[in-house]
């Protein structure tokens, strides 16, 4: 049995999208690199023969010297592992002038590397080959064929698009894809399947869920197993705080809903209707949760509950105000809720903290 790792979208040197504090941005940047290094160490422990880097190892066409040096050092540090590096849309212009025996590259023409009966073939997509690649691909049916491509799975052809249907019946056993940052695996045809490994570490709240790589164990068959490997998981939750009496009560709802992990990052959207004044609710809940996780962002989308009946007989300016707002047809409920909350506070002569 021979083992490979299918990994993509490491994005070394990438900025963080989660609007983290400065110190955590730097820490996360280091963690992205560290997770890549840990994955290679894992590969060594598991006797992995080659790591398939399916695009976007770097976040930039011109990666920083520091990131390149880090990558080269890792590659040099593990000579027993081949690094099959296929450039993606983010690192397309990167040129590797350092000749490393265990760093195998691809081009905009089909390139293959053989490991016994396993043949790994890859192509770096370009406008020139985006149409022709389907017809120029020729694979030996007698071998275990792994294909590497970086692009968006589509049902049409075009630049940076991969029409997987057109790769059916091409003797592909496993189509290793990069570009989409979440893991997924689907059937390609009777023989093979295609999969995105996803990225190694989530960098923002648009990259929630488990992140890692796919371990390929090739024997008679190709067995693929997704390994969550990220140091931290990013999670997004929606919590209904209807009925909460105050900020702490709302926090307790959140705690009851989510099992927090100290290492993870969370975005929490509050929904529902509350009767208490929600001033600084986001900050208050975030402060309560600060010790429960690595980072939390709270977005309050809950509504201030207004009962029109309570103001029906109110002859005061307050009653008139609430009635007039509730009658507005051009405002949605959220807007009405906010206007009423603010107006009542102003009419009650309470300090307005904006």
């Amino acid at each position: 049995m021979i083992k490979f790792i299918h990994c993509a979208d490491v994005h070394l040197g990438s900025k963080m999208e989660a609007k983290l504090p400065k110190n955590k941005v730097e820490e996360r940047r280091r963690e992205v690199a560290d997770t890549f290094r840990r994955m290679v160490e894992y590969a060594k422990q598991e006797g992995v023969r080659a790591i398939l880097l399916v695009g976007d190892v770097f976040d930039s066409d011109r990666p920083f010297k520091r990131d390149k040096e880090f990558f080269y050092q890792v590659v040099k540090g593990f000579p027993e592992i081949d690094f099959l590096y296929l450039r993606g849309n983010h690192d397309g212009q990167e040129s590797y002038t350092e000749g490393l025996d265990n760093l195998k590259l691809f081009s905009n023409e089909w390139t293959s590397y053989s490991y016994g009966q396993v043949q790994i073939t890859g192509l770096e997509l370009s406008p020139e080959n985006s149409l022709s690649m389907y017809s120029t691909l020729s694979l030996d049916a007698g071998k275990k064929n792994i294909l590497m491509l970086h692009g968006q799975v589509a049902t049409t052809v075009g630049n940076e698009k991969i029409h997987v249907g057109k790769f059916a019946e091409k003797n592909i056993d496993y189509l290793a894809l990069g570009h989409i940052h979440s893991h997924s695996e689907n059937k390609l045809d009777d023989r093979g399947r295609y999969a995105y490994s996803g990225c190694l570490e989530g960098r923002g709240f648009d990259e929630c869920g488990e992140k890692g790589f796919v371990l390929l164990e090739v024997d008679e068959e190709i067995k693929s197993t997704f390994h969550p490997f990220a140091k931290r998981k990013i999670e997004e939750w929606e919590v209904d705080i209807t009925g909460a009496e105050n900020a702490f009560s709302a926090y307790q709802r959140v705690k009851a809903t989510i099992s927090f992990q100290a290492s993870n990052l969370y975005r929490i959207r509050l929904k529902g209707e509350v009767t208490f004044e929600k001033e600084n609710l986001e900050e208050d809940i975030a402060r309560y949760l600060a010790g429960d996780c690595y980072f939390v962002s709270v977005k309050d989308k809950s509504l201030q509950k207004i009962d029109p009946r309570a103001y029906a007989g109110d002859i005061s300016l307050k009653g008139e105000f609430v009635r007039s707002v509730l009658e507005r047809q051009d405002w949605d409920d959220e807007k009405k809720s906010k206007v009423i909350a603010l107006g009542l506070k102003a009419l009650a002569q309470r300090e307005l903290t904006i």
Binding site: K22, R29, S316, L317, L342, A346, L352
Partner: protein
Amino acid sequence: MKLLSYHIENYGKIHDQDGNFSEGITSYCEQNGFGKSTLVSFLKAMFYGLASYTAVTKGFVDRLHYYPFSGGKFGGNLTFFWEGDVYKIERFFDKKSAKGDECIVYRNGEVYTGFGEEIGKAVFGLDEESFQKTLFITAEDVEVSSTHSINEKLNSSVEGGLEENDFEGAMEALDRARKDLKAARGSGGKINETKTAISDLSIQLKNYEDMERSLTEAYISREGLSREVATLEDAYQEAGARGLVLQKWETFDRMIAKKKEREETLAKWQLRYPNGLPNDEERKELQKNVEEMGKLEERLHSVAFPSGKETERKMLESRFSNGIPSPTLMNTMQEKINRLQTAKGERERLMNQTLTVEETLLKQKFQDKKPTLQDWQEGRNSLEEYKRKQALLSELSSKLLQPKKEEKKFSFKTYALVIGCALLCAGLGLFFVQMILGIALMGSGVVFLVVSLLMKSVNADMPRPNGDFDVVSLQSECKLLEEKLRTFTIPYGYYSEGGVVYDFLQMEEGFKNYQALLEKEEASQAQVKEITEEMETLQREIQLFLHTYGERTENLQSGLQQIYVAIQSYQTLTQDWENSKREQAQLKELYQKAKDEVEKLLQKYNFSADAGTMYGLSALNRDILSIAHTRAEVENLRLELEDYQEKNDLGERPEELSVSAQELYHSLSEARNRLLDCDRKIVDTERYVEKKADTQVELALAEEKLEKQQDTYELLMDTMIAIENAEQRLKDQYIAPIKGRFSVYVQALEKVLDEKVSMDKNFRIVFERGGQSRSDRYLSAGEKSVCALCMRLALIDNMYEGEQPFILMDDPFVHLDAIHLERAKKLLHELSERRQILYFCCHESRKV
């Protein structure tokens, strides 16, 4: 409500004045200066008091203006009927400050505090300003507007409840918050701050992006430099390789030069030795002979008799010129010395012979005064006599005296005497050994002797109980004899308990011993003399012998020993001297033989005589070795040259380098430094550009903040509009009736204003004239005063549903023409049917 009466103590020009008010209209039409305005001010002051003033207070000040001209208490009282009760307000004012005012309210004759401090507000539901805008109507104040107090009153009237919300306060708070976000003018406010921050961050981000773009050039530049370094490295390696070959050629050249130099050295050697060099055997033989010669020389030197020893030998030879003393003689001398030593010892022993204690005592007793023969003869005679008489006395005494008592007395005295003598003797004996003990014993002996003598004398003096003259006589004689004997023995230390007889015998024995001791000492002295003479003889003989062999020492044994040593040295030196002479002769013979062999070889090769020495031989050997070594070197160099040429493949000599490896190395170092600089710049720039992500986050946060602020701003605006709308809606509920009442009153007074008059929430009148909406500014003075009157009446109608307050009119129709004045008068009469009106004017034409 109805005002009933008043009393003015002092107020302005009015002094101690009372007045009553009738129902309906109470009209005061008097000329100017009568005091109408003073009374109006008084009535108002009763309800609202007078404002305090200070030196800096500007404008018309009622308290100052109406302060009594003639002094006295400033104020008065006012009685009115309201809601079924009669109230009386009694107020007196301080000159300047309201703090000094006095105010008491009575209800139905009793003090009442239900109005609190603000009586006017409590009664009318209006503050002073609102009172002036409604219930107080003048010709000058034609402004039509609402106040907060009026609004509250209207609202309360309309809805029947109290307004708890402060519209203006809420609007102000919202407006403050709005302005906090965005100032109405200028660039103040948080939104602008955030926009500025966003702008700054955008510029900063652009800088980062510019720097990032510049990195591309830096990367390209780096690649160029990297290639240059690689090219130079190749050239340097090539130059290095060629330089290496050239270096080998240079080494090869140096090796040839060295070989040539060694060959020249060899040729020089051959010139130095034209007859050639001895072969190994000859050289060994030469070596052997030269070495032999050296050794023989050394041995000759070593066997030569040392001069020191020779001197010593000669001195000894002179000393023993008469021959060496025989061993027998030496032994005789030694025996004499021994005898001398022995005699010396004997003599010393005899001379140092010591006496025993007894002998010493004897010598001490008899040395100074020896008893003569006559003394002895007398002593013996006395003794005999004493014995005889004592025997006789014993016989007689046995008859007269009880023997026991006598014995006892005699025994005790005798014992004391014996002990005394014994102690004296022992003390004398010990005196020479232990002086102090001896003296002590002798002292004790003397004491005992004295005691014994005293006892004797006592006994002698005692009368006998049964005395007999013979006995006494005998005793006396015995006593005399005894004393005589004692006189003889005691000086020699013989006195004991044993009695005088015993002591005499002891002395006699002691003297015999003394005489024997004297004889013994004489014999010993004779022996000493004899030995001394023998010693003197031996001394002389030995010294004579020693002098003969040169020894002058007093120590005879040492002198004899020195002679022994000298004999031995002389014999040894003589033996050594003879041996040396013999050995030298043998060695000289061997030396000459070796020398002959050496000279023979030197002659063969025409070597100088130096070559026959060890130094010359060493030089020859060095030369031989050098020649052999040079010869070997030449051969080795030849082989090395061949080997070097073959190993380094030195076929054809390459051309010299156009650019030296050193120059290339310099260029390479320079290029590497430039690459390093470039890397450093890239790293610095990357480090700088790394902050771009932070700035992006900051920018995103700022944009988010701006969006939030703008949302909040919009929210504030919407809220303000909503509250304003609510306020308007609320007002609309009471403006309509006010407008209705206004129209009624206007209809009664002024037809022209009746058409298309509208009213805003603050009761500002807008009317249409010439197709355009116009404010009340465009009305004539008369029309304005009509509007003001109608508006006040409409407000009063709406504010008070139940009991109507009085209306105070201070000549309000000044600006009306006759037609309108009549209408107004008519209207007043109609109004006075439902409420009390106090009307003041100064002209008969306006009197109602």
